[in-house]
Amino acid sequence: MRRSPLLRQLLATTLPLAVLTIPGAAPADPLVARNMSAYGMPGGIDTPTAETLPEGSLGATISYSDYALRNNVFFQVLPQLTANLRYSRVDGINDFRNDGFIWDRSFDLRYQLFEQQGWRPAVSIGLQDFLGTGVYSGEYIVATRQVTPNVRASIGLGWGTLAGRPRVIDAADLGGTANTSDWFRGEARPFGSVSWDVNDRLTLTAEYSNDVYQASYSNGGFFQQGSAEPGRLNFGASYRMRRNYQLGLYTIGNESIGAQFTVTLNPREAAYPSGLEKAPAPVRPRPAPAADPEAWSPEWASDPTARPVLQKVLADALAKEGQILESMTLSATRAELRIRNNRYNQQAQAIGRTARLMTRALPATVETFVITSSADGLPTSSVTLRRSDIERLENTEVGQIAAATDLSDATPRPAGLIQTEDLFPRFRWRIGPYFDLGLFDPEEPLRYEFGAEARASYELLPGLIATGAIRQRAFGDIRQSGPGVPGERGRRFTPEEYLADPSLETTPEGVPRVRSDTRMYAGNTSPIIPELTLAWFAKPSDQVYSRVTVGLLERAYGGVSAEVLWKPVNSPLAFGAEVNRVRKRDFDARFDFRDYEVTTGHVSAYYELSQGFIAQLDVGQYLAGDRGATFTLTREFANGWRVGAYATKTDLSAEEFGEGSFDKGVTFSIPISWATGTPTRERAESRIRSLSRDGGARVEVKDRLYDKVRDSHGVRMQQGWGSFWR
């Protein structure tokens, strides 16, 4: 049998487990970390080890001692690559605020060069706090080996902080760029740790660390973090609760005691991997033609009453499945259903269930089933199946039905397409609470707001949708405030000061304030309109999609946004272009505008690489009129988990941009169905980015085409085929 690309892909994904079953092979031991360090990385207490986490693990460690409060988010990007984003309150350092502490961001990367194999230990190389010179900057090479089944030992060589020789921090540095010339320079010193797994839950750790917890600045400032320099020996104990939690207690030197808490999520471990949705209706096979010739008569097709009845039956059955039958074409031998999946995380599951319902409803002569996915009115892809294959392959390995399936571009307007009655216009509304969090404000790292929101959408025709929302704050401590006063770090303009002087809406460097005054939009006590738009989605040709959105696009901008996307269904490559003409909204977030208008636009290229990586490059003009490019790299798992990182560099200089030098951030998106088992398309999403700056800023238009279209295209469908018979 000729293997289709789909089948090859499926076989490839099943291979890793198959390898495990080959007897006699001695696979390398991946040395999965049992303990997280106070820096939120696999390690001892302050020192790193060469251990890794299971691929894809995403988690957070909060550690607290006299020296610092560190909030860490870590992610095992690849089997060898661990990344960590840290936001720390470093105690004992004074800046212009004179608080006795500073809030500091840092970023770590660690790469495992070798796994442990035979006599050879695992070896990793790492960079700590490597964007700009920071309080924790240092580099290391470390080796870890399992000594006995319960004991692991690590030994390494550290530079910078890890050698007890912290680097001098440039007080004028804007941060954000890597000082490669400092790496692995200066005096190096050895460090080491030993950990002992007392039982399945408790691990004890002892380490030798060089960290002196000092910071010196180029302007002569010198600080001892905490109250005193610690000794060299640290001891810790960590206790695992259930699968995902870890509680730790440790000593730093003789003086200080610390505590930490870790939560880890692994995309491969779901509470209900197959979901808690109700069982699908089984296939209803047709009788043999000889046994029931009448059932096989094509006469029904000439009866004008047949099609409306069948469409009604199918629409009702699909509605129970959380799907909308938008339209349908029907002939004696072929049926095409256009479905809008509002329930299942995997489009393949929606298609599998539709196919089974079709076997239960359609006359026996209909042999070709075409199921076209509609993304809010946009026909995105067509799955063509033979009914006899569905009957023959029900509840077999998914590779078989995948191999018998054809995935093609959806024809926008096929002949004979009849819309389901009473579907449009479609009105939806919701009134409920909302909760907003403000993070990373150095004065108050966690702010919140709570209130009520009403939201409604009115879909006049498939793809033509009016959406609006209105919010009323109830309480919270997110307040309105102006941008920071240039040259006076730590002080912000009051809203009154900022409103009184229009010239403040441009920075002294001449950059219009397009995002740095974003807090002026916060803290309104009267009702606000976060969005009010009319969007039109269309498909001009088989592989081209378009969107036009008009109205109040987001909290701070309103105007027109137009986008086109070229995305063949089985191509890993896509191109897009977007143009926006927008005006800055007034701070009361109602219908008034301010005196700033700009055209932004991008051309974009998207490419789906192997191993679930998606690369995106956008080149164009940003909100402040600056020109440049954004590069985004996202890791996506078959279950829909997505973790990504992006960076934007425009023609604004680092000085014009301000602290951070350029815009960068990390995004997370986790399907709720993964966490709860409930069938839903909802997601928990979050973005951690650098400070709100004016360079590299974009209009936040909803429903950009790429993500909308991709769910039913090649890669996502291949990943999701495991759910076809679910």
């Binding site: 099943t14 409920g432 401590d477 990943q719």
Partner: protein
């Protein structure tokens, strides 16, 4: 800010008052929150009195047989400590799908378990290479492949090496399987090549089920 108890209660009451409503039903987060809250409230008030005395499995089976004219099986989920009566809702060749009223399903082929649905940690499909031996009542060895949807969304196979042997009584066959660091035993009661009753392993999540035919 630390909420005082009274304030916390007020906040909670407000949350309740603001609980989302709309023409599409509550979102999944709200539903989950409501379920958790309802559960807490129920626990705080003590377990509710059962309105009717629990009926025995035999009584429920008898009623199901009276109400339902089609094929019926009784399935005991050992790890869940539950027994369910399932009615046939579809047949495709020798493959039969049985469902509970709450739409959880078990798929059997001539009594041999080939899949489950709607149970959270389902068996997607089993390919028992030992089936012919078991039906023929012969001892021998074969490979059994069990496929599961894993947490990351892919269907993954587990492969087991199995040994089939006659059981302690006539008409009983046992199948001992081993692989992936685990082992399990399936037991089948046969008559003329048909599996009338059995105890079969579903998977690492659900453990064993016992299946009895109430009406073939």
């Amino acid at each position: 800010m630390i909420l005082k108890p009274m304030k916390a209660l007020t906040a909670l009451a407000l949350l309740g008052a603001l609980a989302a409503c709309g023409n599409e039903g509550p979102g999944v987060v709200t539903r989950t929150a409501q379920a958790v809250l309802a559960d807490r409230v129920a626990r705080a008030q003590g377990a509710p009195e059962t309105t009717a005395p629990a009926r025995s499995d035999a009584e429920r089976a008898a009623e199901a047989l009276r109400v339902n004219p089609g094929p019926l099986i009784q399935v005991g989920f050992e790890t869940l400590g539950q027994t369910q009566i399932m009615a046939m809702v579809g047949q495709n060749g020798a493959m039969r799908t049985y469902m509970t009223p709450s739409e959880e399903a078990v798929i059997l082929r001539g009594g041999m378990l080939v899949g489950t649905r709607g149970l959270g940690r389902d068996l997607s499909v089993a390919e028992p290479g030992t089936e012919a031996l078991i039906r023929a009542g012969r001892a021998g060895q074969g490979t059994r492949i069990m496929r599961y949807l894993s947490g990351d969304g892919l269907e993954r196979p587990l492969q087991f090496a199995c040994t089939v042997a006659p059981g302690p009584q006539t008409g009983l066959m046992t199948e001992d399987c081993e692989g992936h660091g685990t082992r399990f035993q399936n037991t089948y009661a046969l008559e003329g090549g048909q599996i009338l009753a059995s105890r079969q392993w579903v998977g690492p999540g659900l453990g064993h089920v016992t299946i009895a035919t109430l009406r073939p």
